[in-house]
């Protein structure tokens, strides 16, 4: 019931293409991130799933149900908004109870309808339904806000508001949980805490979750799979580790972590490995085959090991260069190394005591062939 399938989704706003042929399959219970720079279409995709935007073309399935023509209020998508969008005139309890009241309104007879409305307009008018009360209490306890039931949202901290929004979305037992930049309004420390909290809650409930973010760290640390989007198109859909080690394009490599990216000429490609000339003097070995002649080479800064000239290396896939700058980052040291006319970034762990290498020192860069990605 909780899987999501998107087929050939397209959206055009006043002649501007926001989404183009997006195809996705999200498995039941999966924690799925939509990642990309602002304006890439990730939020539009989510709003199409929620039903707030009508796609120009394509179909959306939740479970087996084609929801493309179903209005937002009947899609059973829980949504956590970037601003949380808590109802400021209702207490925490009433916020969380809202969807249950709506359900009662639609299912009940005329009397129930009036009772629900009265209750929403003024809490003294209507009696709170026992069953709803119990459910809301449980939901609030679940997000550890049992004590806050009678407060107004404005009286809560950012993290608490976030958890209310989560409880409000989860209590309706939605088929899918949608989260739009859920952490962007929190400070850095709280963000790290909420990352874990959200992930834990999602695991406990086991609900299919789609969340939108522009922060690669957030996406990588929380999601089972990540879809990277750019200019209205899907670029790559993969697990975080695969995304990091095998980006399919320069854009993904650059967006997901920092990279050394440069062009090279293939000298030889056989036996499942490739020899690339990266400038006139030096060659590099990659563990991946290619059929192309001119390639893009991507090497992560932390996959390079740095040795001074007199130190022994462990393999022969080595480039020779000169340090041009060293930056101390606390746990790590970043070296800018000039190799021929190319500039490399190399991250090494700081081992204490050792003075940093000064600019001008000649070094050897040792690279594991399996971490040299070629496109």
């Amino acid at each position: 019931m909780g899987s999501v399938k998107i087929e050939h989704l397209g959206k055009v706003f006043n002649g501007v293409t926001a989404l183009e042929d997006v195809n996705l399959e999200i498995k039941e219970g999966e924690f799925f991130a939509l990642l990309g720079p602002s304006g890439c279409g990730k939020t539009t995709t989510m709003r199409c799933i929620a039903g707030f935007e009508t796609p120009t073309s394509g179909k959306i399935y939740i479970g087996d149900r084609d929801v493309s023509q179903i209005p937002a209020n009947q899609r059973n998508c829980g949504m956590v908004f970037q601003s949380y969008a808590l109802f400021p005139h209702l207490t925490v309890f009433e916020n969380v109870a809202y969807s249950l009241n709506m359900r009662r309104f639609y299912q009940g007879g005329f009397g129930t309808k009036m009772a629900v409305l009265a209750n929403l307009l003024n809490r003294r008018l209507g009696k709170v339904n026992r069953e709803i009360e119990q459910k809301v209490r449980d939901a609030l306890d679940f997000v550890e806000l049992g004590q806050m039931a009678d407060r107004l949202p404005t009286e809560l901290s950012g993290g608490q508001q976030q958890r209310v929004a989560l409880a409000r979305a989860l209590i309706m037992e939605p088929a899918v949980l949608l989260m739009d930049e859920p952490l962007s309004n929190l400070d850095k420390k709280l963000r790290n805490v909420m990352r874990v909290t959200i992930r834990q809650i999602q695991q406990k409930v086991g609900i299919t979750t789609i969340f939108v973010t522009h922060d690669q760290e957030e996406a990588m640390s929380m999601a089972d799979r990540v879809a990277v989007m750019n200019k209205g198109k899907l670029v790559q859909v993969d697990t975080p580790t695969a995304l990091y080690s095998n980006p399919v394009s320069q854009f993904v490599a650059d967006f997901v972590g920092s990279s050394n990216i440069f062009t090279g000429t293939v000298k030889d490609s056989n036996d499942g490995q490739t020899i690339i000339a990266i400038n006139e003097q030096q060659v590099l070995r990659s563990a991946y085959p290619t059929g192309k002649k001119d390639v893009e080479v991507i090497i992560r800064p932390e996959s390079i090991r740095l040795y001074t000239e007199d130190q022994p290396t462990t393999n022969d896939n080595i480039l020779a260069g000169t340090v041009t700058m060293s930056t101390y980052l606390g746990p790590a040291v970043r070296y800018d190394v000039k190799v021929g006319d190319l500039q490399f970034e190399v991250d090494t762990t700081f081992e204490g005591g050792n003075p940093l290498l000064a600019p001008g020192v000649k070094v050897k860069l040792e690279i594991d062939p399996s971490r040299v990605v070629i496109l």
Partner: protein, 583 residues
Amino acid sequence: MSQIATNQQPVQTPKKAKKKRFTFEGFTLLKWLIYLFFFVFLLVPLFSILLVSFTGQPINIFGSFVSQKIFSSTLKKLSEMSWDAYAAIIQGKGYFAALVNSLELSTSVALLVTVMVLPIAYAFARTKMPLKGVFAALCTIPLICPTFISSYGFQLMFGKTGWVNHIYRSMGGDGVLFDVQSMLGIALVQIFFFFPYALWPMVAAFKISDVTLEEASQNLGAKSWYTFLRVTLPLAMPGIVSSMLLLFTVSFSDFGTPIILAPKDLNLIVVEAYREIAGFFNWSGSAVLTVIMLLVAAFFFWMQRLVVRGKEYGTISGKPSKQKLNDHKGALTVLTIYSGLVVLVPLLAAGSVFLSSIATTWGHHALPDGYTLAHYKTIFSTSYQNIVNSMILAAGALVLSVVVATFVSYFVVRRGSSGLDFVSSIPLIVPGIALGIAMIQTFNTAPLQLTGTALLLIIAYTIRRMPYMIRSTMGSMMAIRKDIEEAAVSLGASPLLAALTVIGPLMLPGIAAGAILVFVTVIKETSISILLAPTDWAPMSLAVFQNLLRGEYYTASAMAILIIVIVIILQAIAKKLAKDHLY
């Protein structure tokens, strides 16, 4: 494994992009109902009065749709359309004199107020003038008093037996200071009761002007008066011009002052229109006057928009620069005395009305002969029905305004309906007397014979105040973020239910404040009440007017004071509500 998103040609399914969604049909219906409301009660009356101004005979537009006979007679009338009435005006005959008089009045009021208010605005914005708070509070009096009461207050002061003239004669003067029943009298009332319309925009304009430019000028060696004339004033000019144009429109459409103070031989366009319709049932004449009124008001309104749009924020710089306030002793003394005198006049006029309301008789001396509360007793016994009428009519207009304005702002803010935005702001340019005449003409006969009913009165009040009500509801609508509404929908509420349970309660303070202001202006309303109210639905303002005509001055005063008190109380509540936005 890496899956690369397939980048084939997208499978085009070119559905009609403008397919209306079924669920919003209830809303769409509502929208068309609101359009229908404005169409029937605003656009058709205005259009038909335009036709009448050419045909010279009443036209029954709604009748033409239901009856073949009326239709053919309408066609016949339309075939006899002529430019005669307008041609006469262009040739300087007919209503030309009234138009010229009105333009003269409004122009002089606009100019004189601007000159009069300029020093006060400067004092408020740029000096350390003492008593600013007191003066600001006194400046609300002119806005609270309906102009026909202010005019009556002026009569009590400057009339033949007015107390000012008693003092004037006791000091050796002869006769009266000036004849209050004249163009001068009308102009003075308007000047002293409309000046706040210009004051606050001008204060804002002076505050906005970039001080660094002034300092630069002084740095370059300019004297301070030179700096004021050549730098400060030109920078504040757009604000000043815009408030002048506003004043012109307000003065031009004012009905309360001329109806009390215009002598028989003074033709002003609003009075003339009223006399033609109420005295002679002259459709052709009143229609022509209505159309002219509308054109002039619309033109100046449009000019004002033009000025505001072009220049308003011309000199606002990003960083708020701290302004140096003028604290020259001599200048401050002069400004304080001057401002005090100006704001004192409306207070004295209102005070005169109050004194008259508790006087046994007044007119032989500067002060009343004795004091009594009998007039208040009288109005609560004999005019009790008028008070009730006012309350019912104002409440009716309030309910109707709230419903229409709330939905209009919803459609304008949330669904981008610029059509409704435009239609609902048309009443801004329609003077009350013009709206009244247009409505009487259109709803005079079957099938929609509403003239003389309380319903039409309520609708007229509602339409007249609609732009102001919408401004207030639209403000609170815009303050509600769109995602709050979407959250409700995602939690299972239909758009209508979301509007009812989330948006409605959140808008409530804004709606309530706007609604009270509608109530207040309806109680103050003169032109519509005098034109449209049937005898058994006469509201308080009409009762004051009729009492004045009958010479029952003391009861008129008591009723006027009652109106002012109600207005003050309700306005205070509205202000508090608008401020106490809970969220």
